[in-house]
């Protein structure tokens, strides 16, 4: 989207040669600061003495002491797992959910678009309905079903129930519907079977969509809070988001610099994914709207 929109603006070059647009720069800088400052504050705090922070001496100037990072990574804080373990659980959960959603959504969208089978529309509508039932609205009954399956406190329970995705299925359906009939015809004449067509034509064609969706779903999986809170009470399954909230639970004796170091570590992976894959991500996110 952005490439085409930008190309359609011949005035670009001429305008940027004019004097700087100070109002725009001021407002955008304020916006950037609005987001950067709280994160900077937490980074600065992670390098300062915990006792000083408790006394109210948190400063915007970072210190030089990075030992809080080594400490939380290897040992965690009082009563929590070490942070490396939480990062591992979060990473596995995010990748599991993103990968799982993408795979089963591609398969079901492929079936719905390229085949005619009994109850095709019913299947589509059943999947579609999940749009309307986020975890938050079915807390208790979902917990009951999970315990019937014996999935409480298991990694399977943490990931698999979140893998069903109407959004991803709808997105891939949209991509597949737009594929020209001629391409399907040609593939068939070349003797490509359905699975070969999926592998050799559909997957390469939708690579950009898959990348975009991966970013969105990775962030979705990494950021889960209510679901792990509900189905995993075993500290060995604490994600980093769960773990950090536990750390601030005992406010009187919180090791603040440790909490701040953990916050920075919790932020880095999803931010890295968003920034590194920004181009696909932005296009993929807004594309569904057109």
């Amino acid at each position: 989207m952005s490439q085409a929109a930008l190309a359609a603006r011949p005035a670009d070059v001429a305008l940027s040669a004019q004097r700087p647009d100070w109002l725009a720069h001021t407002i955008l800088c304020l916006g950037v600061l609005l987001f950067a400052l709280p994160v900077w504050l937490v980074f600065a705090g992670s390098t300062q003495d915990s006792g000083a922070i408790t006394r109210g001496d948190l400063s915007l100037l970072p210190g030089t002491d990075f030992s809080a990072y080594a400490h939380v990574l290897t040992q965690g804080t009082m009563g929590t797992e070490p942070v490396w373990h939480m990062l591992l659980v979060s990473g596995a959960m995010a990748i599991g959910i993103a990968g799982g959603k993408i795979v089963i959504s591609i398969l079901s969208a492929y079936a719905v678009v390229f085949f005619r089978f009994p109850f095709r529309r019913t299947a589509f509508w059943i999947i579609f309905i999940t749009l309307m039932l986020p975890v938050e609205v079915r807390i208790i009954p979902t917990y009951a079903v999970m315990s019937d399956f014996g999935l409480i406190n298991s990694f399977t329970g943490l990931t698999v129930p979140l893998i069903a995705s109407a959004t991803a299925t709808l997105l891939f359906r949209q991509v597949f519907v737009a594929i020209p009939d001629e391409l399907v015809e040609a593939a068939r004449m070349d003797g490509a079977g359905p699975l070969r067509f999926l592998r050799d034509i559909l997957l390469p064609v939708s690579a950009a969509n898959i990348a975009a969706l991966f970013v969105i779903l990775f962030v979705y999986g990494w950021n889960q809070y209510l679901w792990p809170l509900l189905v995993a009470t075993d500290p060995g399954l604490d994600t980093i988001v769960i773990g950090i909230v536990k750390m601030i639970g005992v406010e009187t004796q919180t090791e603040w610099s440790a909490v701040m170091a953990t916050a920075v570590l919790a932020l880095l992976p999803p931010i890295a994914v968003v920034v590194l894959m920004q181009r696909w991500f932005v296009a993929g996110l807004t594309e569904g709207e057109k």
């Binding site: 929109a5 930008l6 359609a8 603006r9 005035a11 305008l15 700087p20 647009d21 720069h25 407002i27 916006g31 950037v32 609005l34 987001f35 709280p38 937490v42 109210g56 948190l58 398969l107 079901s108 079936a111 719905v112 678009v113 390229f114 085949f115 089978f117 095709r120 589509f124 059943i126 309905i129 999940t130 309307m132 039932l133 986020p134 938050e136 609205v137 079915r138 807390i139 208790i140 009954p141 979902t142 893998i163 069903a164 995705s165 959004t167 709808l170 399907v184 015809e185 359905p194 779903l217 962030v219 950021n223 809070y225 209510l226 988001v241 909230v245 919790a266 999803p270 996110l285 709207e289």
Partner: protein, 293 residues
Amino acid sequence: MDRRTVFEGKLLPILLVLPQLLLTVFFFLWPAGQAIWSSLTREDPFGLGSTFVGLDNFTDLFTDPLYLASIIRTVIFCAAVSVLAMSIALLLAVFADREIRGRAIYRTLLIWPYAIAPAISAILWLFVLNPQVGLLGRWLNAHGIPWDYTINGGQALFMVIVASAWKQVSYNFIFFLAGLQSIPRAVIEAARMDGAKGWHRFRTITFPLLTPTTFFLLVVNLVYAAFDTFGTIYALTHGGPGKDTETLVIKVYRDGVVNLDLGSSSAQSVILMVGVIALTAIQFRFIGRRTNA
């Protein structure tokens, strides 16, 4: 949804669609059905069995001043979060859409907060606004402005609104910017030549053309504020002090998981489901699609 050329075969497509269907049935439809069923029953005091009570749980809820207060609180919270997150995002998008130096860098620096988890946003704001350790919270107290969101309900509500809206600005920014970029240059140029300037041009030309984006975002933001902010609120205040930040979702969790009142909690879940279905239906009726996971 129909195309002319399709592959033959019945078994293969059924196998392909099966994993998704099974997950949906077991983890979405079944729990939803259970929620509806237990919303119509009541557990006996010993938790040994339950009896069918019809719509009693619902009438109880809608005559319970605490529940009604929670509804009003949720509406205020959602409206405040949506308006705040959308207006800041729109302001930034309008200026990021101008042809200025460093445009790409500004965009990246405004897009990354999309990655912040709601619960982590709460932690970040704790270090800004906590009365003991927070930079700003401490400053307020030192300058004669009593600030403590752990005992003052209004301040607690303000804090969860700020932390929730802050995290959502990036998402709105991405969509507003895409919306602005899809407005044909010729339209803006024509308005410029007719002498429409700055604010006037924005109000009469740009903003009306953004209506579909604005409406889409309004629905997404309301759903976000109503449901996804559980982590933010729970991490910061647990719904307190008292019940001052207890939104409907926090109440379902407190009543069901903490206080184990299954009938009432299920009835509340059903009410929320009706709410989401209504919002989703409105969205599809007017726009066509929603794009969050």
